[in-house]
Each structure stands twice: as C-alpha cells, then as structure tokens.
Amino acid sequence: MSVNPHEADARHDMRTPLARARGLGSAKHGVGHWWIERVTATALIPLSLWFVWLVLRLPRLDFDAAHALVANPINAGLLILFTAVSFWHGALGLQVVIEDYVHTRWVELALLVLVKFLAVLGALACALAVLRIWLGAY
C-alpha cells in the first residue's frame, strides 16, 4: 500500500536502524494485525450481544416478521456493521490459524488469499442483502 517505512525518508530520518526496525516484526507491518484484531473484537462485544437479541425477537422464523425487523433502518445499519466487522475479525483470526498450522508455503499463501477473498465476498453479500431488504421495504 504505502512505501516501506524502512526506506521512506531514510536520509531525513535521524533515528538509528534499530529504532526504525523495532516493533515492525518479520512481516514489516508492526503491530497492525494485533491492534485491528483487538479493535474489531471490542466492537463485536456490543454488536454480537445486540445481534443475539435481534435474532431472539424472531423465534418463529416468520418471513414477513423477519423482513420487517431487518427493514428497520437502525437494525439494517447495525446488521451491516455487525456482518462487516465479523468477517473482518474472522479473516484476521483465520489468518493466524493458517500461519500457525500450515507449513507448506504455497498452500499457506493460497489459503491466506482465499480467506481474504471469501471474507470480502461474505461481507459484501451480507451488506447487499440487507440493503435490498431495507430499500425494498419502501
């Protein structure tokens, strides 16, 4: 995405090479993955409890009742948020599991890319479905 901070402005950077490398790790992404995993986890505490509460309001699985519930703008908005953050958090978690247990490099790489693709696809499909229910209600 951006320029490697190792090389960016190296001539103007007064820090030592050690100071620049510290915290970056072997992937050169620093604590980004770790931090976003925690941020999405924190967001999912209220969102997942809200989602359980939403589902509990439809115990009879009636189509019209479910449709009306999701068509409510607040529910629709929170559902898009919940699904998007869930797929994001899930992709980050699966990434760690794959990196830990898959030791054949090309299989690992293929799975990592596949998980990212599926997460984006899943989040997009959920968002479009919710939007269709919400906007179709008018």
Partner: protein, 130 residues
C-alpha cells in the same frame, strides 16, 4: 517413520488444565464461528429473496441438525465472547496472577454456559423450536 532425534514434549505429556482447554477452545470456537458466518450470510440472502428461499433456510434452522448446530454456535459465540473479554483484560495488563487466571477461566465457562441456556430457554418458551 523412525525419528532418530528427540522431540520436545507435546500435548500428550501435560496434565489437562482449564486454562489450556480454554486456550484451545478459543481457536476452535473462532474457526467454528467463521462457518457460522456462512449461515448468517445464507440467512440474509434468503431473506432478501422470497418466501421460497426463506423457507429453505428456516427449514434448515428448524431441522434437528440445524437446531443442534445453532445450539453449538450459540455456545461457541458466548465462549469466544467471554474468553475474548478475558483476553482484552490481559492485553490491558490485568489478571495475570495465577489465582486470577484460573478464576477468570471458570467464570468464562460458567457465564458462557449460563448465557447459552438463557438464550435457548427463551427460544423454547417463545415457541421457536418445533
């Protein structure tokens, strides 16, 4: 295949502790919940369709296997949620005493079982399961 070199001790040699069970379950439930996300996507797409697509989805949820899976997903969500909060406390630097992490482990187990029971009692009492 014969290994001439010694291997470091693995899972089989350790006495089981609640802390290691929860550590393993956190990963297992995390991966399992990713499969649950597929069901969630299916449900929303079915709801965006028509009566027939929704009937296929709700039929699966009300089936024996569907209900059993939903109960497992409820427990997985509650356990991952409670243990996730436990992890966030650790990330903030709290709860590292030996007595604290054993206590918090049992709190996670009890609270997640209790929440699962409450959710499914609600479903049964509201007439959700045939």
């Amino acid at each position: 295949m014969q290994h001439a070199r010694p291997l470091s001790p693995h899972l089989g040699i350790y006495e089981w502790r609640i802390t290691m069970v929860l550590s393993i379950l956190h990963r297992v439930t995390g991966v399992f919940l990713c499969l649950g996300a597929v069901l969630l996507a299916w449900g929303l797409i079915a709801l965006a369709g028509n009566d027939a697509t929704w009937a296929t989805f709700s039929g699966f949820c009300a089936s024996g296997i569907g209900t059993a899976l939903l109960i497992c997903w409820t427990f997985a969500l509650m356990l991952h949620l409670c243990n996730g909060i436990r992890h966030l406390f650790w990330d903030a630097g709290a709860g590292f005493d030996k007595s604290q992490y054993f206590t918090s482990a049992w709190v996670v187990v009890i609270v997640s079982i209790a929440l699962t029971v409450v959710v499914w009692l609600w479903v049964v009492l509201a007439g959700g399961v045939p």
